[in-house]
Amino acid sequence: MVRLLALMAFLIMGAVASFAIHAAGVPKPMVKVEGSGQCIAATEEMRINHMNMLGHQRDRSLRQGIRGEKASLIGCVDCHASKSTGSVLGKDGFCESCHAFAAVKVDCWQCHQPKANFKAAGNAGATGAAGAVGAKP
């Protein structure tokens, strides 16, 4: 009986809390859109579908070699990277601010470059001593 009461109390508390949040309104993430010009689709559609667009495009691009499609991760980064940090990541970054809010972990940036117009610095010592030897013209 005690357990049942506890359970009931817990449920009621949860319901009250969720009403309170709804009434007050959840703080929305601050997503800064710094790029000028048009996105490849309307904002509403991008919000709902960007992951599908990118997911399908990435498979066609990598596995079938179909290039130059409308959706592309490089395209996202080029437009949406922050002017100050140059990246779509970081607290106010275009991708991270919203994904942190929605608690959706993305795996893109383990491999993809989150900074716009990034150019890796030369080739260092990855290949050991041999890598450092230059061409003899």
Binding site: T127, G128, A129, A130, G131
Partner: protein, 401 residues
């Protein structure tokens, strides 16, 4: 004689063992997590030896998992009465060892977080791809098998399910051997004998682990295994150890026969430092010859301690053999340009060396701890203790002298 009954004793030793096993398991998982965050730079593995200690331990457990089911198969499929009471424990150990072995291998993946992809994108030309089917079905079949053994109303199905599980485990270990058997690139691996060799090795390693667990359980419950039963099982272990040695010998002999692999065989058996040492000293001497002596030499053979010692040594020898096979096979450079001396920035033509790092060791030992902990809980909550009806066995002519 009476039926030996397990008497439940509540003792602190169980909880202590549970805590120790759980702690070592947790440390192993934490070590894997550390490798996952830092990348495999914190391991001793590299781009030439990319399968290391976790793979030695993991593959050992997976092979032993299939072998330990043999005890049940001998009872159910081949009708040997002495093995029937051992079938449930054998099934439990099969599940537990496979789970622990897979845990090690999966935790070592570069992207362990994506392990589900392995199930959703199966490539059937890959032996690993087959394993994505072989392992889950093995879990299912053995689980079902243990159910038919332990639920009296389902006993009638145990032979049919047991036979299916027996066939499946042969297929599964064929798959494990074929992970290496189909590798055309390397001197050490491509060989049709690897599949049967792994099956025989599984017989020996699985039985050894079974005997160890059984002996511990009896000791904890203050029960005594009938000496004649022990004698039967130690003879079987001896046969398996001998057969394993035979297959390993044939594997090396065929490699010597193929002219282009003779240099590799010389490396692994004679000149390769740690590898010949572990092969001759670890697998052959400590892991096979000494156990055979312990099992058969007069004065030792009927002794409980010598059978248990032989079992432990068989396990250690198996680990040595897999270390030589997996790591030695990668350490030796691939022969891309026959007749040429090869040098490069990527260590072509060089014999590589491997020292496992602490996280790898912790993960590997953690895998054994996972198996230990799962077994401990399993035998605690259900009646897996092999209990012999000695009188019945005697009248059936199973116990001589």
């Amino acid at each position: 004689m009476m039926i030996q009954q397990q008497t439940k004793t509540v003792d602190g030793a169980f909880y202590f063992a549970l805590a120790v096993g759980g702690l070592i398991s947790a440390i192993g998982v934490a070590a894997a997590l550390y490798m996952e965050i830092m990348g495999h730079q914190v391991s001793g593995m590299n781009n030439q030896i990319f399968w290391g200690l976790p793979h030695v331990f993991g593959i050992f457990l997976i092979v032993a998992a299939s072998g330990v089911l043999n005890v049940a198969s001998i009872g159910s499929v081949f009708g040997k009465k002495a093995y029937k009471p051992r079938a449930p424990l054998s099934g439990l150990l099969a599940i537990v060892l496979l789970a622990a072995g897979l845990a090690i291998i999966m935790l070592d993946l570069g992207r362990a977080d994506r392990v589900l992809i392995a199930a959703t994108h199966v490539n059937l030309t890959s032996v690993f791809g087959w394993n994505m089917i072989l392992y889950p079905v093995f879990f299912g079949l053995v689980g079902l098998y243990v159910w038919t053994l332990m639920d009296r109303s389902k006993n009638q199905y145990s032979k049919a399910v047991g036979t299916a599980a027996f066939i499946w485990r042969l297929v599964m270990t064929t798959g494990t051997g074929s992970i290496f058997g189909f590798i055309v690139a390397r001197q050490a691996y491509q060989s049709a004998i690897l599949a049967p060799m792994f099956i025989i090795l599984s017989f020996a390693w699985g039985l050894a682990i079974f005997l160890i667990v059984q002996e511990i359980m009896y000791a904890r419950s203050k029960m005594e295994l009938h000496p004649q039963l022990r004698a039967r099982m130690k003879n079987l272990l001896g046969v398996f150890i001998g057969a394993a040695m035979y297959f390993v010998a044939v594997y090396h002999l065929t490699n010597v026969y193929y002219a282009k692999q003779i240099e590799f065989t010389h490396f692994i058996l004679v000149s390769g430092g740690i590898f010949p040492l572990l092969f001759w000293g670890g697998f052959v001497l400590l892991g096979s010859v000494v156990p055979l002596l312990l099992l058969y030499a007069p004065g030792f053979s009927a002794n409980k301690g010598s059978v248990t010692a032989a079992s432990y040594l068989t396990v250690a020898g198996g680990l040595c053999l897999l270390f030589v096979f997996i790591i030695g096979g990668q350490a030796y450079p691939m022969d891309m340009f026959p007749g040429m001396q090869v040098t490069s920035s990527f260590f072509d033509g060089k014999i590589d060396s491997y020292t496992p790092s602490l996280p790898e060791i912790l993960l590997s030992v953690g895998g054994f701890a996972i198996a230990f902990t799962m077994t401990l809980v399993g035998v605690r909550v259900l009646r897996f203790m092999p209990q012999d009806d000695v009188a019945k066995l005697q009248s059936a002519g199973y116990l001589h002298d």
